[in-house]
Symmetry: C2
Subunit: 774 residues, 2 copies
C-alpha cells in the first residue's frame, strides 16, 4: 500500500499539494476535519481555492427536511429526508497581493504541510507559494473549533512576504452565508438571510422550513510588521467582511487572528442570539488567540485522559486507532442529549439525519468505556426523549397500544429516511436500542436507568415485536415476515435469523426488566404502569413470552451434518459463491453491480447472523461462533464500514489471528488509507467505534462475562509488542498493559475494581496487578 | 349508487355546475377529455376559471426527464423519471363583459350542460350565467381535437347577450405557453420559450433537457351580430393573444371560431415547424369551423366502424363500454409506431412515461380485434424499435450476450420508473411482450411478424430468462429469485408462479418461433442469426429447454387434498384473511395502510396466478381455473384498475355469473362512477381495454381455441337482453349478435371467416349464420 499521508503516532500529516488531484484534495478536506461535538467542519482552505473542493461546515442538530416525493408515494412513507446542512463558511480569509488573489490552484507551491494534531485538536498548515504575478509568500495558519467553548471557532493566519520587493497585501476576514449543499436536488438554497449587522460584524441566517436561526459574529485583530492595522467593513449581502490593507517589505508578516461566535436557536431564544454570539466572540478576542488555544488544548487533554490506546510495534495501527478515537471524541461529547453521532460527523454532508443504529450497536460501548457512564447515559436518554415519536412512527405503520418503532435515521425522533425497504423493514434497529440498555446495565453493573427511562423504552419495543410477529399456520410458530436484516444486500426477506432472535430476546428482557423495576423501584414502576398502561388489558408478559418461546429460528444442515443458523429463509436457494471469487475489478460490488444483482446474490454486506453471535456470544460459545464465522465470513464482502470490525473481533475470539489483523487494518485505517475511494465525501465516524472495539474487545479480549465481571483475554497480533489502553469501569479508570504472556492492570484514579484474568478474579487498585497468561 | 352524470348510450352529459365542488369539477375535466392519438387534453373551460382546476394539454411522445435522486442512489437505477408534460393551453378564450371577467366560479349559473358526444368526438358546453355586475350571457362552445388532422385543435365559441341593456364585450383568443405540471417537485417549469411570433400569431416553446420544440399557431374568425370584427394583437411573453372588442345589443351574439395548429419536432425538422403549424391553422381557418367539424366527424365514424358494442337491457353498462371504447380510440390510433397507450392517455399527468405492460396484456387484444391487424402490428413494432434499449437495459443489470429486459415504464425504450422493486424486479413484463407476439400470431393466423421483428424480440427475451433463472442446489430445479409479480402488493419474492411459468413458456415459444422462421423465412432467419449471434456459442435452444423444463413451479396442498399453484414461496406463512373481512373504512387499503403492512398481508392487488391462468386458459381447463379463482379471488382487493376485468372474464368462464357481472360494472364504469375517488387526476385508459375484454371474451365468450379457430360461447348477464359487437378477424369484419339461446354472426364487409359455435365450425359470409345454443 502506498500511503499519501505520513504515518505518525499523534499527527495526520500531508506534505506537498497538487491542486489538480481533485479527489485527493477533497479527501484531505475530510481527513483533517475538526469539530467539538456541537459544530465542526471540513478542512477547507481559509483563502479562496479555485480547485475541486467540498465546502462543509455543520452545526449539530440543524437540518433541512428535503422533499423527495415522486408521483406514487406510498402510505406511511416519511414526510421528508433530513439533510445535514452546510452552514456559513466561517473561516474565510481572502488575500490579495497587489492585484493578484492568493489561490493555491494557480500558484507554484514550494512547500506545503498540513497537519492535524490529534492530541491537541489543532489543524495547521504552512506553505510557500509563488503567485502568478511572481510574488512569493509564506503562510502559516492554525485553526481550531474550540473544545472549551462550544460556540467558538478561532484561527490565526500569518502571511510573510518572501519576495525581494515590497507589496501591498489586502487581507479580508469573512464569514460567508451564501452556501449550498452539494446534494441539493435542484441546487436549492436551504438558508435565507435574516440580518446582516454591519456594525457588530454579525450575520443571522434562518433555515428554510425548519426555521432554525443561527448567528455568526466575527472579531478580528490584525498586525502588520508588529503594528496594528485597522480594517474597513466591507460586509454585503450574506457576508460579514472586514478588509485590512497594508504594505509589507520583504520578510515582514501580516498576522490576523479571527474569532467567530456561532449561536443557534437550538440553545438560545431568538431574541438572545445576537448577544450570545457577540459575547463568545468578544471574550475570545479579548483573551487573544494563544489563550483561546491554551484553553482548547487543556480541554483536549482532559478528553484524552482515560481513553488513549497505545500500540507498540505497529505505527500504522497506532495512528489508525488514535485517528478513530480523535474523531469520536470530537463528534460527540455527551454535553447535549439532543445530539447524537452522525455517520459522517462534521466531515461531510452525505447521509441524511444524525442517528442510526450505529449509535447503540457500536458507539455506545466506546463512550461507555472511554468517557464514563454519564456520556453513555446521554445517548440512552436521547432515545428516551424520542419515545413518543417512536410510538407515533409505529402507529403510522398500523401498530397500536404504545408499540414503539424507533426510526432508522433521525434528527428529532421522526423517521427521515426514504426507502421503504429500510424505513419499514430494517426493524432490527429496534432490538439494538433495547440491547444498548442491557449493555449499559451490564457494563456499569447498575440497573437504575431501567427505572429512569429504560423500562418505558423496553415496553414500547416489546409491544412492537409482539405485534409484528405473526403466527404461521404451516409452521406452527411465530414468524417475522418482510424484513431487512443488518445485511442490507437482502431486502424484504422472511425470518431473518438475527431479527427473530433479537426480537425474542427483547421480549424476554423487557419482562425481566419490568420485574426488576417492580421489585426495586416500586414508585417508578407505578409511574411507568400509569404512563404506559402496562398489563392494563391482560398479562402482557405472558403474551411476550409466548411469542418469544414460539419464535421460528431458521436453520440449515450443512453437508457435514452440522447445522448453522440460516440468515433468512430461502438463502440456500441462491447460487452459493465466495466473495474471494468475485473478480477484483468488480469490487466493491455496490459500485459495479446493479442493485437487483446484488440482492439476488448470496453476498453479505456486513455481519448479520454474526452480528447476533457477537451481541450474544456468551449464549453461544466459541465452537458455534467459529462454525458460523467459517460459513458466513467467506460470503461477506464487507461493504459496510461497520463490517470488518465485528468480524475482526469474532476472528480474534475464535483464534483466527491473521484474519483478525487483516480485518482490523481495514477498519482502523479505512479512511486514512481510503480503501473505498470515497473519503472525499467525508469520514466513516460511527465505524471508528467499531475499530476501537476490534482493539479492546478483539485483541484486548475485554468483555463482561456471564458472571457480570470484566474479563481480559489478550490475543495480540503477532506484530504488536504490546497493547495498552484505559477504560472507565464502575468508577475506576483502569489502565491495561498487555504484552506477550503478561497482563498488567492498574487503577489510574485509585478507585478499586474487579478484573478477571485467566480463571481468577483480581481486585485492582492504584498498585496494580501483573499476571502471567498462557 | 347516486350518479352525478346522466346515463345515455352515446353521450356523457353533465347538467348543472357547482364551482365549489372542487374534486367534481376536476373529475369532469378528466371525464370529458378529448384527443386524437397525437395530442389531447382535459376539458378545462376555455374562459378563465377561478375555482379548482387541473389544466392539462398533452402531446404524445413529449416528456421531461425529472430528477428524483437522493443521497444513496443505487447502481443501475434509471437516470430519470419521465414526466408526461403539461403543454401550452391552446383553447384559451378570455371574456370581459364591461369591466367584469367571465369566470364561472363567481357567476350565478342558471343553466349548464356539458356534453361529450362519443360517436362524433365533440365536446360541447352551453350555459347561461349572470356575472357579478348583473349582466347575463348565454354561451355555447364546441371543441374538437381533430381526428382528421392530427395537428389541429379547433373550437367555436358563441356568446349571446341576454341582459336587457347592451354591453361592451371583449373576447381574447389566446394560447398560453407559461404552464406548469402539478406534480413538479419544486414547482419547476419544464418549458422555455423560444419565440413569440406576433406577426403570425405563433409561439415556439422548447422542453428543458429533452429539447423537444413545439410550435403553436393560432387563427381566428370573429363575427359580432353577424358582422366580422377585427382584432388587436395583444401577444406578450409566452402568450399568443388576439383581442376582439364589440358592443352587443340584447339578443346579439359574438361568435369566435379558433383554429390552432400544433407542430412538434417529433414530426418536423425544427426549421420547418413554423411553416407546418401555420399551414395546419391556415387551412382550417380557410375551410371554416363547420367544415373542420364535418371532416372530424367523418374520421370518427370510420373509427367506430367495426368496434361498437351494443348492450340491450342495461343502459349503464352500454354507456360504460362505449366510454371505454371511445377513450381507447382517441388515445391510440396506430398512426405512429413511436407512440403508445399511456395509462392516463391525454387526461392527466399522473404516472410517468407512456408505455407499461398494460399495452401488451390488455390493449393489444382490443386494438387487434377492433382496429385491425395494422394498428396492433404498430404496437408490436414499437417494442421491436426499442429492442436495442431493452438490451442496454438488461446490460445495466449485468445480463449479457443480447439478453433484453424491456422497461417497466418508458417513453423511448429507456427505463424511466424509479422504484427498484418495480424496475428491477417486476420482470414478468418481459413475458407479456413475448405473449403479445404469440397472441397476435394466434389471432391473425399469420406468423410473418416473427420474421419481420418478432423473433429478434423473442430471442432477447429468452436470453434474459435463461440468464435470470438460477439453479437451486437444494431444489435441484431452476428458480427465479427476487421478483415482483403482477400483484405489486408483494415485492422481492422468490419463485412467483406467474413469472416462473411465463418465463418457461417464453423459452419454449422462442425456440418454436426460431424453428418456424428458419423453415419458412430462411433469408430472414439468416439475417436474424447474423444480427443476434443466435447459437453462435453453442445450442441456445437446448439451454432454453433445459431451463424451461427444470423450472420450479411452487404449489400448495389445500386441506381438501387439492393443490393450487402458489403465488410465491412463503405465501402461506402469511396470516390468511379474506378481503371481505377488511373493514369498509380501511378500503382501499393502499389509501389506509402503510406500505409494509400491505406487503406483509396476504391481500392481492390484482390477478397474479390468475393472470397466468387467463393467458394460458387452454392449457389448464375450467376446473383448474375455478379452483384457483375460488382460492385467490377472495384474497384479492382489486386495487389495480387492471384487476376486475380479468377476474370478470374468469368468473364468466367458470360459470360465476353474478360475480362476473359485479366485477364487470366495477371495471366498465370505474371512472364514470368514480369508484376510487381519483378521477380528478385523470382516467384509467389502459384498463378500459380490460373492460372491453370482459364483454367480448367474458360475456361474449370469444376466444381463439387450441384448434386455432375463433370460438364464441355466449354467457350474457341475466339482465342483458342481447349483446352485439363487431370484430376484425382475418380480413373479415364480423358482427356478432348474442341473444338468449341464439348466436348470430354476419360478415359486414362480406369477407368470409370461420367461427366455431357450440361444437361446430361455420363459414360466415355476408348472409350470416344464426345458431341456437344451449
Amino acid at each position: 500500500m502506498e500511503r499519501r499521508l505520513e504515518v505518525d503516532p499523534w499527527r495526520i500529516v500531508e506534505t506537498g499539494f497538487d491542486a489538480a488531484a481533485g479527489p485527493d484534495c477533497m479527501a484531505s478536506e475530510s481527513l483533517f476535519s475538526i469539530g467539538n461535538g456541537a459544530m465542526g467542519g471540513r478542512a477547507n482552505f481559509e483563502e479562496f481555492f479555485g480547485g475541486r473542493t467540498l465546502q462543509g461546515n455543520y452545526i449539530g442538530g440543524i437540518f433541512y427536511p428535503d422533499k423527495t416525493r415522486v408521483g406514487w408515494w406510498k402510505n406511511g412513507y416519511p414526510e421528508y429526508f433530513a439533510k445535514v446542512l452546510n452552514s456559513a463558511f466561517w473561516p474565510g480569509i481572502d488575500i490579495y497581493v497587489g492585484e493578484e488573489r492568493l489561490d493555491l490552484s494557480i500558484c507554484r507551491i514550494e512547500a506545503f504541510r498540513r497537519e492535524l494534531d490529534m492530541r491537541r485538536g489543532v489543524l495547521s498548515r504552512t506553505f510557500t507559494a509563488v503567485l502568478p504575478n511572481g510574488v512569493k509568500v509564506g503562510v502559516k495558519v492554525r485553526r481550531i473549533v474550540s473544545m472549551a467553548e462550544p460556540e467558538l471557532g478561532a484561527l490565526s493566519y500569518e502571511l510573510t512576504l518572501l519576495s525581494e520587493s515590497g507589496a501591498e497585501v489586502s487581507v479580508t476576514a469573512f464569514v460567508e452565508g451564501d452556501v449550498r449543499n452539494e446534494d441539493a436536488n435542484y441546487d436549492e438554497k436551504f438558508w435565507e438571510p435574516v440580518a446582516l449587522d454591519r456594525e457588530s460584524g454579525a450575520l443571522t441566517m434562518r433555515t428554510k422550513k425548519t426555521g432554525f436561526e443561527v448567528r455568526w459574529t466575527q472579531r478580528t485583530a490584525v498586525k502588520a510588521a508588529g503594528r496594528p492595522v485597522s480594517g474597513r467593513n466591507v460586509s454585503e449581502n450574506e457576508r460579514i467582511a472586514e478588509r485590512f490593507v497594508c504594505t509589507l517589505k520583504t520578510g515582514e508578516t501580516v498576522a490576523l487572528d479571527k474569532f467567530v461566535g456561532v449561536a443557534s436557536s437550538l440553545n438560545h431564544p431568538e431574541a438572545e442570539l445576537a448577544a450570545a454570539a457577540e459575547s463568545v466572540a468578544q471574550r475570545a478576542w479579548a483573551a487573544g488567540f494563544e489563550a483561546v488555544l491554551a484553553a482548547h488544548e487543556q480541554a483536549w487533554a482532559e478528553k484524552w485522559a482515560g481513553c488513549d490506546v497505545v500500540i507498540e510495534g505497529d505505527e500504522a495501527a497506532q495512528q489508525g486507532i488514535r485517528f478513530c478515537i480523535f474523531q469520536l471524541l470530537q463528534t460527540y461529547t455527551g454535553r447535549d442529549s439532543r445530539l447524537n453521532v452522525g455517520p459522517k460527523g462534521f466531515t461531510g454532508e452525505k447521509y441524511g439525519g444524525s442517528t442510526y443504529w450505529d449509535t447503540e450497536a457500536y458507539c455506545l460501548p466506546f463512550y461507555l468505556c472511554t468517557s464514563g457512564e454519564e456520556v453513555a447515559r446521554q445517548l440512552l436518554r436521547y432515545r428516551y426523549r424520542q419515545l413518543p415519536q417512536a410510538i407515533g412512527n409505529a402507529a403510522k405503520l398500523g401498530f397500536k397500544d404504545g408499540a414503539a418503532l424507533y426510526p432508522m435515521v433521525t434528527m428529532t425522533g421522526e423517521e427521515c429516511h426514504n426507502e421503504w425497504e429500510i424505513t419499514f423493514e430494517e426493524i432490527h434497529r429496534n432490538g439494538a436500542i433495547a440491547y444498548a440498555i442491557y449493555n449499559f446495565c451490564r457494563y456499569t453493573g447498575k440497573r437504575d436507568y431501567l427505572a429512569e427511562g429504560g423500562l418505558e423504552v423496553l415496553v414500547g419495543i416489546a409491544r412492537f415485536w409482539a405485534q409484528r410477529a405473526t403466527f404461521s399456520e404451516p409452521k406452527g410458530q411465530y414468524v417475522i415476515l418482510g424484513v431487512t436484516g443488518p445485511n442490507e444486500y437482502e431486502n424484504n426477506v422472511d425470518n431473518n435469523w438475527y431479527t427473530n432472535y433479537l426480537a425474542a430476546w427483547c421480549l424476554r428482557y423487557a419482562s425481566e426488566a419490568a420485574e426488576y423495576v417492580a421489585a426495586q423501584y416500586p414508585d417508578d414502576y407505578r409511574r411507568i404502569v400509569a404512563a404506559t398502561g402496562l398489563n392494563a388489558a391482560g398479562d402482557e408478559f405472558a403474551r411476550w413470552r409466548e411469542v418469544a418461546d414460539g419464535m421460528f429460528l431458521p436453520e440449515w444442515t450443512l453437508e457435514d451434518g452440522e447445522t448453522v443458523f440460516l440468515q433468512q429463509e430461502g438463502y440456500m436457494d441462491k447460487e452459493q459463491r465466495m466473495a474471494a471469487d468475485i473478480p477484483a475489478e468488480q469490487r466493491p460490488i455496490n459500485q459495479h453491480w446493479s442493485w437487483d444483482r446484488i440482492l439476488r446474490s448470496c453476498f453479505i454486506k456486513q455481519a448479520d447472523v454474526l452480528q447476533g453471535l457477537y451481541f450474544f456470544q456468551e449464549a453461544f460459545g466459541g465452537e458455534t461462533i467459529a462454525r458460523h464465522f467459517d460459513f458466513y465470513e467467506p460470503r461477506t464482502v464487507h461493504e459496510s464500514s461497520l463490517s470488518p470490525c465485528v468480524h475482526s473481533i469474532l476472528a480474534s475470539l475464535t483464534g483466527r489471528a491473521a484474519r483478525a489483523y487483516e480485518l482490523y487494518l481495514r477498519t482502523a485505517r479505512l479512511d486514512l488509507d481510503d480503501y473505498n475511494r470515497e473519503v472525499h465525501e467525508g469520514l466513516h465516524i460511527t465505524s471508528m467505534a467499531g475499530s476501537w472495539l476490534s482493539v479492546v474487545e478483539g485483541f484486548g479480549g475485554i468483555r463482561v462475562g456471564r458472571d457480570g465481571r470484566l474479563h481480559v483475554v489478550p490475543r495480540l497480533p503477532e506484530k504488536w509488542r504490546s497493547l495498552a489502553f484505559e477504560l472507565h469501569y464502575r468508577g475506576a479508570i483502569l489502565r491495561f498493559g498487555l504484552g506477550t504472556g503478561e497482563v498488567r492492570v492498574v487503577s489510574v484514579n485509585g478507585r478499586p475494581a474487579e478484573v478477571v484474568v485467566g480463571e481468577r478474579c483480581y481486585r485492582v487498585d492504584d498498585r496494580g496487578i501483573q499476571v502471567k497468561v498462557g
